[in-house]
Symmetry: C2
Subunit: 456 residues, 2 copies
């Protein structure tokens, strides 16, 4: 059965809904109520008559109306019973938030096996156990227990994130929210007893609001299924994967976290490469690449670096050479038009150095000349807002360059003054990285993927 | 002559002081006035009678009192004349802010040669040309033109930073200020016509308020002098170097920036290693390592990772194995004391997983048991402030662990809620990194340096 009933339910029951703030059953129910969810929401708790003002039910069997999605937040030992009731009630999808299953050792694995057997005989689909739930940026449905006071839930956007780890998932959501970048779906899939990374990737491949799929995977449940799922995505959408448990000791840690067999990393890595997956080597690249791939793909590898700080130009150049990016010099014709764009350009080679008295006008003219020349496939812009002559309207000037349909990646960092402008840039769809090398590496990832996508 | 007259002048003249906000000559003079500088400050500008309410002089020759330090901010072509006047006036040190010298090509190199000849015949010391100036966190003396509205000038602290690039320098200052980390001296040394990286390192080696020396170097002016200077520092203070112009194209960019001959990176890198220099491979490591080395050095390589998120434990483990860090399991004895510290520990191996319902008490007891056990030389703490059960007093609990005299490095990231707490941690002297892998890499750098320092 498809995942429509999970992501687009008509009605939702929360089994283990609680009246105590801070408890998972409270936070989920409270998030649901704040979600502007159009369908009905039923709290299930045998010990109370209402939760947050909504009439509560003793069990899911006591609900007369049909239930599409049940969210289970009771202790692990109680899960088999309530799950059996859900199946009996013909609930279409279930999220098992509860932990205490295969990730905890033998007894937990046995318990997980018992619920898996229950599920196997039915048509019900299960997300979990050991998950945070999911969030849909487009419908606004927040079926997680993430506390809003602590976590900046992103706006609607085009990145979908799936994470086997709850902490990685919630942190990635919080960081992306802080940067003003939106998400389409966010799914924590934990022990992946039924719905696994492959199911989610297949679903997201056809989700029209998802442009980029980013996945934190500790271990694949079914290698062949994964290969088929990724192959079916083809060149439609980039898939970014961060693999946890790359090393022997990392794999051991993964086993005691989501009960995953992390397998040989070399095998994984080479399969990822063959499938055209963009592999993030670490947490930073995972975040960086997720936003990078919302950019238009470059048609070639000719990149210009435009900077107001010579030192950052040098660091960018070093990284570009290391990652095989091509930074060709402007042609004589372009050089002369750059010169007329600004008499104050420090270096007309590439990096093009606008120097520490750069103005918005100088940036705008040079960016425009470069993007218009046909000599470059993408631009890395170093923005030192620390430069006193630089007005804050640079943000709009950079945004205007999007009309050229080429990737524009920025490096900028600093304290409050810069932070505010960086956030503006990001919410206008211009990705900003905290280091010049990371901006260059992101461009290299985009160029490499584009080459592969053209062949696919 | 030593650099005392540069960093601790009794009186300062600003040649080219201006009444126009935004101009370099205005910003420098304004920063000086706000510096609580105890000595006299003289603006020099032939076209006005006063600058910011201070009586102005037509030339430095017109100042009757002695001048220890002159800051020159006039166009390049005018520098030889005012420099000659400074020499005649027996000014002890000069900062030449002006650019337009060897970094611009042949004509500029000739001009630089002419002022170098002037200086060579005198005892005057020159910082520059093509620099921002310097800032002293301890005296508060701000002899730069950095605009305070844009750049967070750090408080007094123990890191001294020297940067050949102005933009790299000002940005590093701004980022460090934003993190609540203090500096001792900040020096932009640009074309290094006279005072070079070696002079500055020698000076900082004996500067009692400097604990860590961090340098962004594009090209060494004198290799032997550098080796001697670094050797003389010995194991007294760690020196962190970020080298710009590592690649052939990067070296070209360096030549047109500060007129540096970047030389062969392989040679540099192996010399750095022999000298016990901590080499930062990129901008991020440069920032990370600068704050890392304020921590006590670990006596060995046995590191514990304590986390409230299993996924981050896995990523940390992967990185630790990659960088040769040792993450031994706790002994049976320590395990049992960890168990009694908290019944809710998810994994008692290493990483020690406190799980997503971790409390401050659980963190505190586990950190204490680990640090007290004698089984570990340092701790990486993953702090997911997103976890709803975690009170903000965790900041104080972590700070208390400093009493064990072992390095404690944290990974934490997120939106406003986390950002505020991260800043608190950093201002209490606990370094926080934006990714688990970076925290682990910083610990590996500390462990490696400690091994070398013990041998030195």
């Amino acid at each position: 059965m498809s995942l429509e009933s999970l992501f687009g339910p008509g009605s939702i029951a929360v089994i283990g809904a609680s009246r105590t703030p801070g408890k998972i059953g409270y936070e989920i129910f409270s998030n649901l109520l704040k979600s502007n969810f159009k369908g009905r929401v039923f709290p299930v708790n045998p010990n109370v008559t209402s939760v947050l003002g909504v009439v509560s039910y003793k069990s899911i069997r006591h609900i007369e109306a049909g239930v599409d999605l049940a969210i289970i937040a009771v202790p692990a030992a109680g899960v088999p019973e309530v799950l059996a009731e859900c199946i009996e009630k013909k609930v279409k999808s279930v999220i098992i938030i509860s932990s205490g299953f295969s990730e905890t050792g033998e007894a937990g694995a046995k318990l997980e096996k018992s619920i898996k057997d229950l599920v196997g005989k039915s048509k019900i689909r299960v997300l979990g156990p050991n998950v945070l739930g999911f969030y849909d940026g487009h419908t606004g449905l927040n079926a997680t227990f993430l506390p809003k006071e602590r976590i900046r839930i992103p706006e609607r956007g085009q990145i979908s994130m799936i994470s086997q780890s709850g902490s990685v998932g919630s942190t990635v959501l919080d960081v992306i929210g802080a940067h003003g970048i939106g998400v389409s779906k966010f799914v924590s899939y934990g022990n992946a007893m039924d719905i696994d990374e492959s199911d989610l990737i297949s679903y997201l491949a056809n989700d029209s609001s998802t442009k980029v799929i980013a996945a934190f995977i500790e271990g694949l449940k079914d290698g062949k299924k994964f290969v088929d799922a990724v192959r079916a995505v083809g060149r439609r959408k980039p898939i970014i994967v961060l693999k946890g448990g790359k090393t022997e000791s990392g794999a051991k840690a993964a086993a005691s976290h989501t009960g995953s067999m992390a397998g040989s990393y070399k095998v994984y890595s080479s399969v990822f490469k063959q499938l055209g997956i963009v592999e993030a080597r670490n947490w930073q690249e995972f975040l960086d690449y997720s936003k990078t791939f919302l950019q238009p793909l470059p048609k070639g590898d000719r990149i210009a670096v435009i900077t107001d700080g010579g030192g950052f130009g040098i660091l960018s150049t070093d990284e570009a050479e290391k990652y095989g990016l091509n930074l060709p010099e402007p042609s004589a014709k372009l050089k002369s038009s750059l010169q007329s764009a600004s008499s104050h350009v420090g270096s007309l080679r590439n990096p093009i150095d606008l120097t520490a008295d750069a103005t918005v006008e100088r940036y705008a003219r040079v960016m425009e000349a470069v993007l218009n020349s046909g000599e470059y496939d993408g631009v890395v812009v170093v923005v030192g807002f620390q430069v006193p002559t630089l007005e804050t309207t640079l943000v709009d000037a950079i945004e205007r360059m999007k009309s050229f349909g080429k990737p524009i990646l920025c490096f900028s960092t600093g304290s409050d003054f810069s932070r505010k402008l960086i956030k503006e840039l990001e919410s206008k769809g211009i990705p900003v990285y905290d280091s010049p090398e990371r901006a260059v590496r992101a461009m290299a990832a985009l160029v490499n993927y584009s080459k592969i996508a053209q062949k696919k």
